[in-house]
């Protein structure tokens, strides 16, 4: 039997507003523990929340980017539970009246557009950071003591919930890349998983291909990169298939993904079901964004990444278009092509060489880059690499590099090629037995012998010719 994966994601995005959600403490990393706190975010008696207008506007902005409807009235509720990371004993969160509902995101794929439903996007406050010291579980029960840093507590957080519309771990990863790029381009968050400003939980189930049933799902947490999300989902899908095929049943559980081992560990089942006793937050009034505000925010939306992938794809291909757009490289690519560079070559140089050199796209002069792309095949490899690595420097000019021509003279390169092949009889044998990937090895050796001055295209032709001839 073949199994169809059913995957939904819950994504938390920490907003980079200047101040916290309900008080005016600064948001950000790096300050000493518990220094960015006040009576409000420490939950002192009588302290009251005052909502951050920017956070509300950014939530609506992101909702609009995700094609959501913006209800005329949203409401904050209290989610009640005891934990030391929650100083008030409740988290203020939108619950049954979120700011954004019923959206969708278009995910361009090789088989056409996939439409991923966005159930809701709502605004809430982040909890504080806890560290449990001692004990084996890393949890509060059994710890020798726990430390709490309330700096993070009260940071604005948007939770985005997708419909269970994703059908593979790869699709989930591509969705997340596109979503992340959208968030970053809106300027509302840095959305970095490593820093925890973007967090992803996945709800995973499988069903026999062709059926429309929904089987028990499990929840995966603690995956702190897109690759780990994909690997975690992959592992859980395999586990569930094995469970069903063994005749057992998948149980509703929460798993932590261990990046080091790739293993999934079930959290200890809770003794009792969660009951958060939600009720409307009486310290706040409803959020009622005016139609004018929503329209003003809608006008601020840039052309979104999904649409740009589709537009650029026509001049490249889906894979390259996706890499450029989700890497935030497409604007540089457009400019470079406009300066006369060939589209595919420009995409390759930007996605490989420029990114490889660790240069951000913002400071790169497109005109000079276009000249380098155009001259790429004529330049010695080392010269080209050197030039690319300096692209980000102020006032960069390609001129001094363009003067250096690569050695393309077959008479001059021929003997070098012969020497390299003679010195590598084993590899030559392997190549002739079909291991054609070794071509790159031979070209590399020749480039090394010529201190990078040889034209790799010419060398490559010479090597192939010689190996065919003898």
């Amino acid at each position: 039997m073949t199994w169809e994966p059913i995957i939904g994601l819950e994504i938390h995005v920490q907003l980079k507003t200047r101040t916290k959600m309900f008080c005016r403490c600064p948001v950000g990393f790096g300050a000493g523990e518990n220094t960015r706190t006040c009576p409000v975010c420490l939950g002192f008696p009588g302290a009251l929340p005052v909502p951050n207008r920017t956070a509300i506007e950014w939530t609506i902005l992101l909702g609009l980017a995700l094609g959501c409807e913006i209800p005329a009235r949203a409401e904050f509720s209290r989610k009640n539970y005891f934990y030391p990371d929650l100083p008030k004993g409740y988290q203020i969160s939108q619950y049954d009246r979120p700011s954004c509902v019923n959206g969708k995101m278009i995910l361009p794929t090789g088989e056409g557009d996939r439409v991923i439903g966005i159930v809701r996007a709502h605004l809430e406050e982040d909890a504080a950071k806890t560290i449990h010291v001692g004990g084996r579980t890393g949890r509060i029960g059994g710890a020798d003591y726990s430390l709490v840093d309330y700096n993070r507590g009260g940071t604005p957080l948007i939770e985005i919930v997708t419909a269970p519309d994703l059908r593979s771990s790869e699709e989930a990863k591509r969705f997340l890349q596109l979503l992340r790029q959208t968030i970053v381009e809106l300027g509302v968050s840095d959305a970095e998983m490593e820093k925890g400003t973007l967090r992803v939980d996945a709800n995973v189930s499988v069903r026999p291909a062709g059926s429309d049933e929904l089987r028990t799902r499990t929840e995966l947490k603690n995956m702190n990169s897109f690759n780990f999300v994909a690997r975690g989902i992959e592992a859980e899908l395999a586990r569930q298939v094995a469970v069903w095929e063994s005749g057992s049943e998948v149980e509703q559980e929460t798993y932590d993904f261990d990046a080091a081992t790739g293993a999934l560990t079930a959290r200890r089942a809770k003794e009792e079901a969660d009951d958060y006793r939600y009720f409307p937050e009486p310290d706040l009034v409803p959020v009622e964004p005016s139609a004018e505000l929503v329209e003003r925010l809608r006008e601020r939306l840039p052309e979104l990444p999904g649409a740009r992938i589709r537009r650029i794809e026509a001049r490249l291909d889906l894979e390259r278009a996706t890499v450029l757009v989700t890497g935030g490289l497409d604007a540089l690519w457009e400019d470079t092509v406009a300066e006369g560079a060939e589209a595919v070559a420009a995409a390759n140089v930007i996605a490989n060489n420029v990114v490889g050199a660790g240069i951000g796209p913002a400071g790169v002069p497109a005109r000079e880059l276009a000249r380098l792309v155009e001259a790429r095949d004529r330049l010695p490899r080392t010269t080209f690499d050197e030039a690319v690595s300096r692209l980000g420097e102020p006032g960069f000019s390609a001129d001094p590099y363009l003067e250096q021509e690569a050695v393309s003279d077959a008479d001059e390169l021929g003997p070098v090629v012969a020497r390299v092949l003679e010195a590598s009889p084993g590899q030559v044998e392997a190549y002739r037995n079909g291991k054609e990937g070794l071509l790159g090895y031979f070209v590399g050796q020749v480039l090394k012998e010529t201190q990078g001055k040889a034209n790799p295209r010419v060398v490559s032709e010479l090597v192939r010719e010689k190996l065919r001839a003898s």
Partner: protein, 471 residues
């Protein structure tokens, strides 16, 4: 040195006059009140603590101990906050200081303002200055008793279901619960956020209006506050010509209203007519029938959440246990008294999955009906009138063991609290030698109208606010 003023009779307005004309110095005035406190508070226990030195040079003021005062311990009458010293002033504390009022001290309250007698204070009950064997009402019994006993010219209290109005009635002075949202709750130790309101207690309606004008108005730190539609006016009226007073049958004939209370209110209404008012019966059928149950779902539900922050982690005493959970359990078990525990349990239940719709959700719908009912009545009348409390001050201990009897003390004050409307209690006579309060309920933001009506009646009633045994 004999006190330079008679604090038992001095109104805040008169005190202000004495200071302005430099007939007494701020230090002399303060000393007079501190002396009254040292003389009478041993018996009455109105104050949980007095303040040593303050910079402000104006009329002294007492604040209920649910109001955060920077640098001055604020306990809300609970062991779980004993030793807690706020690092910030509640907005109302800042506003009274900003107006130059000098903090005298913090007054006793039922724990977390939960109660109608101050017997739930973790630090012992206050006593009624008219009869120290009786309660001063609650939860703001400390503030009300202090004003009547001349220990403070005026005070601020907090009112959730009657905690300003009912003690004022039982102690024979004037107390205002303002329109919800006109006075900031920032820095008030929360009981039930959608009901809590801060308001003044004083000997006269004008003093109440004056203190209200100092604390009222929008506060950016409290999102639920609103700007007053018109400035507060100190009342001057001595006639009630053209004033329409509605007398809700259900609030005037409810079971449990003592005959002496009914009689005093009836005479006050007759007097109103003599002063030119049109007095007519009207009806608030759902308010009495459902008000109390509705309140005792909503208020404990919100309280169960508001009191969740007291876990011993960040402030207040901590009872160490062997784990986080045990520490929180022990801290809360030792820190909270019976009444907060009872309400936390009630409220947790009312909000629980499977019960929410039947209890909290239903109570909110009933509350909407009660709001509607009041709005309709107040479209026909300028104010509604009824007794503030069904009874006069009751003996200490009488209802302490019977929560339902205690809850019934607020039967008549609760409906307008649920409706978010201003309610003022003025003394309208005595029953068995104890004060009876008349409650006047106005429309939203109708404080000025209520002050005018109450002031005219107050002049005509000429009630002596000084307890007979202290005259």
């Amino acid at each position: 040195m004999a006190p330079v003023v008679d604090t038992l009779r001095l109104t805040a307005e008169d005190a202000q006059g004495l200071l302005e004309r430099k007939e007494v110095s701020p230090a002399e005035l303060r000393a007079a009140y501190l002396e009254a406190i040292s003389e009478r508070d041993g018996e009455l226990h109105c104050f949980l603590r007095t303040t040593d030195k303050v910079a402000e040079q104006g009329v002294p003021v007492a604040l209920k101990d649910v109001i955060s005062t920077k640098g001055v311990e604020t306990t809300a009458g609970s062991r779980i906050l004993s030793g807690y010293v706020p690092v910030f002033d509640a907005t109302v504390a800042a506003r009274v200081k900003g107006a130059g009022l000098a903090l005298l001290g913090k007054t006793n309250t039922d724990e977390f303002a939960m109660g109608s007698s101050t017997e739930n204070s973790a630090f012992g009950p206050s006593r009624n200055p008219w009869d120290p064997t009786r309660v001063p009402g609650g939860s703001g019994g400390g503030s009300a008793a202090a004003v009547s006993a001349g220990l403070a010219p005026w005070a601020l209290g907090s009112d959730t279901g009657g905690s300003i109005k009912q003690p004022s009635a039982l102690c024979g002075n004037v107390g205002l619960r303002p329109t919800y949202g006109t006075v900031s709750r920032y820095g008030i130790v929360a009981f039930a956020s959608s009901l809590d309101q801060i308001g003044p207690v004083a000997k006269t309606v004008r003093d109440v209006a004056l203190l209200y004008s100092i604390v009222a108005g929008r506060d950016p730190a409290d999102s639920t506050t609103a700007e007053l539609p018109e400035p507060v006016r100190l009342p001057t009226a001595d006639s009630l010509d053209g004033v329409r007073i509605g007398v809700p049958t259900e609030l005037n004939e409810a079971e449990g209203i003592e005959p002496g209370v009914r009689e005093a209110v009836r005479r006050a209404l007759e007097l109103s007519e003599q002063l030119g008012a049109v007095v007519e019966e009207c009806s608030l059928p759902r308010s009495v029938r459902y008000g109390l149950p509705c309140y005792y779902l909503i208020a404990p539900a919100e309280a169960s959440s508001n009191l969740a922050r007291y876990d011993g982690v960040r402030y207040g005493p901590r009872a160490e246990g062997s784990s986080y959970q045990e520490t929180v359990d022990r801290t809360r078990d030792e820190g909270f008294g019976d009444e907060p525990k009872r309400r936390i349990m009630l409220g947790t239940y009312a909000l629980s999955a499977g019960y929410y719709d039947a209890f909290y959700g239903q109570a909110q719908k009933v509350r909407t009906l009660i709001i509607e009912e009041h709005r309709e009545a107040l479209a026909r009348f300028d104010v509604l009138a009824c007794p503030t409390s069904p009874t006069v001050a009751f003996p200490i201990g009488e209802r302490a063991a019977d929560p339902l009897a205690m809850y019934a003390s607020d039967l008549l004050t609760i409906p307008s609290c649920l409706a978010g409307l201003p309610g003022l209690s003025i003394p309208c006579g005595l029953s068995e030698g104890l004060p009876v309060g008349l409650q006047l309920i106005g429309p939203q933001f109708g404080e000025n109208r209520v002050f005018e009506v109450a002031h005219a009646l107050e002049q005509a009633l000429a009630f002596d606010t000084v307890p007979e045994r202290l005259r």
